[in-house]
């Protein structure tokens, strides 16, 4: 198990997918990103600061590798991450 002091300085390659309002605000549907963010929460805050996303973490869910995940589970190299804006099917 990695120590969190190490985790925060590692860099991981993350595959990001964007949908709906996040896709529009980001201006693309997917990207690969090298990030020092250790968790989905840190990653989203990094992206939010960079791209000005208006939605906050409480309004989103996160999907990691096609499973709904928790905001604080450590990210792994190569993870596929999607932040899910509030849905409105039907």
């Amino acid at each position: 198990m990695r120590k969190s002091s190490n985790v925060s300085t590692e860099t991981r390659n993350i595959h990001l997918g964007y949908y709906a309002v996040l896709r529009e605000q980001r201006g693309l549907s997917e990207e690969r990103l090298a990030t020092a963010a250790a968790t989905p929460r840190a990653l989203y805050e990094e992206l939010r600061a960079r791209h000005g996303f208006r939605l906050g973490v409480p309004q989103l869910r996160v999907v990691v590798n096609d499973e709904f995940g928790s905001w604080d589970t450590p990210l792994q190299e190569g993870d596929h991450v999607v932040f899910i804006p509030p849905v409105a099917g039907g």
């Binding site: 999907v63 849905v87 409105a88």
Partner: protein, 164 residues
């Protein structure tokens, strides 16, 4: 069975899949593109899905409903892409021995799909404006919210002004 469809929904073809000799009741729900929402005149809708997750979540909802309500069959198909007024955005069908279960299951499926399945819709208004429809409650896993967005909730939705 749950499916995301890029082409128009054919209700009759779907309904034949619900047939069962032991079924006495069949309830269907169709979501249609309406010409208004929250006082604004709507020209068309755009639906977008995170397809792999939507089909996984949707299949889970439909299978759960079959089990929970003792259904003979249940199906849900959701459109993506650009839809005009009157087109079918979503179709749900459930068959069961008795109508109590068929009604309850059909309602359950559409409610869960609207709350949980990663599908988004953007309204394009007659006045040229557009906006993503959502309410903040939907983002809370396991939380239920009102059936439709309300004026108070919709103010949280970013509005993107169309190019003139």
């Amino acid at each position: 069975m749950f499916r995301i469809s890029g082409s128009p929904i054919n209700p009759e073809a779907l309904k034949t899949q619900l047939a069962a000799a032991g079924a006495g009741a069949c309830v269907t729900f169709e979501g249609w593109v309406r010409d208004h929402n929250e006082g604004k005149r709507v020209r068309r809708l755009e639906y977008e899905a995170f397809v792999s997750m939507a089909e996984k979540e949707g299949a889970c909802i439909v299978a759960g409903a079959r089990e929970k309500f003792g259904l003979d069959h249940a199906l849900c198909i959701h459109r993506v892409g650009t839809l005009e007024i009157g087109q079918i955005a979503v179709w749900v069908g459930a068959s069961a021995p008795h109508r109590d279960e068929a009604f309850a299951a059909c309602r359950y499926i559409i409610d869960e799909v609207k709350h949980r399945v990663p599908i988004w819709k953007k309204e394009h208004y007659i006045d040229g404006d557009s906006g993503w429809v959502h309410c903040e409650h939907c983002a809370q896993p396991g939380r239920h919210h009102a059936a439709e967005t309300t004026p108070g909730e919709s103010t949280a939705a970013p509005r993107i002004k169309a190019a003139p």
